[in-house]
Amino acid sequence: MSEALAKKRKIQKYLGNVEVKIEHCKGCGFCVEFCPTGALELSKSFNKKGYHPPMLVDQNYCNGCDLCGLYCPDFAIFGFRVGPNPNFKKDEKAK
């Protein structure tokens, strides 16, 4: 799974972020699997119920599309756009 995730990852034109309500997460992994840019990962830490909530690997990979929020069955995560990404270079797109 991690290889497929790594393949999706590239620096995005826009910078996004996610907010996770850690105690509401049930660790189903929908957000990690279906994130179009592979920006999420289940964290090693766990919440009170013993589930591993997702976390952002690197903010450069998230463009704030909020698909994680649309998939999350527990209403625990949502994404939002912060602004243009200063680390984005045009030739990055060509790769």
Partner: protein, 300 residues
């Protein structure tokens, strides 16, 4: 319940779905990997996009896992007895035709126990939206075989595998007269949102079937993995065929799932037919229902 988040800096942001939920009821009772929460997300976003007055939207559910949706949504809601959400919603719609009535329930509740109410609501073409979350069995009551359990899936009441012929829900709705029929899986979140938006705007009975994983009872008993594996199966095995003949969209066990918008047509609703008939029979004395405060409607 603590509200711990990973929020670090700036103004706290609010999940766009949260205004539609009763926050004090969260976290909900649905299992990890269950798709019902995903459909609620889509419904909330469809409500946002369709810009409806939320005081005029009411949601009716029956018994079952999906029946809990009425309790979790911050709308006028009613949690009816088993199998009777369509009957209740019919009364609600006719008592107050200004309401946008949404029936949100599961396959066991709507199609097995409440099947008769469903076919007659389709026949009468009552103006409402029916969302059926199909997980192929009765979830909350313990995983009994329902009218949609495919041969040879194992359930608690079919330990050697279900053997009955199943309902083909889009065909049932289509043949009974629904004006909008669509089927999607919980993997197709954007399409569900769009379908719900169209269904809310459609006049007449619109029916959306959503295939959802049941990791605790259906997936586990049939050794199909967890909710995530079910979602991957939907991604790999669903075929989008909008406008397909509903006779050919039956679901086989672990087979291809044909998704799409199958029916979108115009047909007079029950209330229109009622007013037309009475106007023809009574003549000029008849004022069409609903009767308004400004004196419109009613028999003079």
């Amino acid at each position: 319940m603590s509200e711990q988040t990973n929020h670090t800096e700036g103004e706290p942001r609010v999940n766009p779905v949260l205004p539609y939920l009763r926050e004090d009821r969260m976290p909900h009772i649905w299992c990890p990997g269950c798709g019902i929460g995903t459909t609620v997300n889509c419904f909330a976003r469809a409500l946002t996009e369709s810009e409806l007055d939320l005081d005029k939207v009411s949601i009716v559910s029956g018994i079952g896992c999906t029946g809990r949706v009425a309790g979790y949504m911050n709308l006028d809601a009613f949690h009816t007895t088993h199998g009777r959400p369509v009957a209740f919603a019919t009364g609600l719609k006719l008592a107050n035709p200004d309401l946008k009535v949404v029936v949100y329930s599961g396959d066991g509740d709507l199609m097995a126990i409440g099947g008769n109410h469903f076919i007659h609501a389709c026949r009468r073409n009552i103006d409402m939206t029916i969302v059926c979350v199909n997980n192929f069995l009765y979830g909350m009551t313990g995983g009994q075989a329902s009218s949609t359990t495919p041969d040879p899936a194992t359930t608690t009441t079919a330990p050697y595998g279900a053997f009955e012929h199943t309902f083909n829900l889009p065909f049932l709705a289509d043949s009974c007269g629904a004006v909008y029929v669509a089927r999607w899986t919980t993997y197709h979140v954007r399409q569900i949102t769009k379908a719900m938006k169209e269904a809310l705007a459609k006049k007449g009975l619109s029916f959306i079937e959503i295939i959802s994983p049941c990791p605790t009872l259906y997936q586990r008993r049939n050794k199909l993995g967890d909710g995530l594996q079910a979602m991957e199966y939907y991604r790999d095995n669903s075929v989008v065929k909008s406008g397909a003949d509903t006779r050919e969209v039956e679901i086989k066990y672990q087979g291809e799932i044909i998704c799409g918008k199958f029916v979108d047509r115009e047909r007079a609703t029950w209330l229109d037919c009622y007013n037309t008939r009475n106007a023809a029979a009574i003549g000029a004395r008849y004022r069409p229902y609903p009767w308004r405060e400004n004196g419109e409607g009613g028999v003079k």
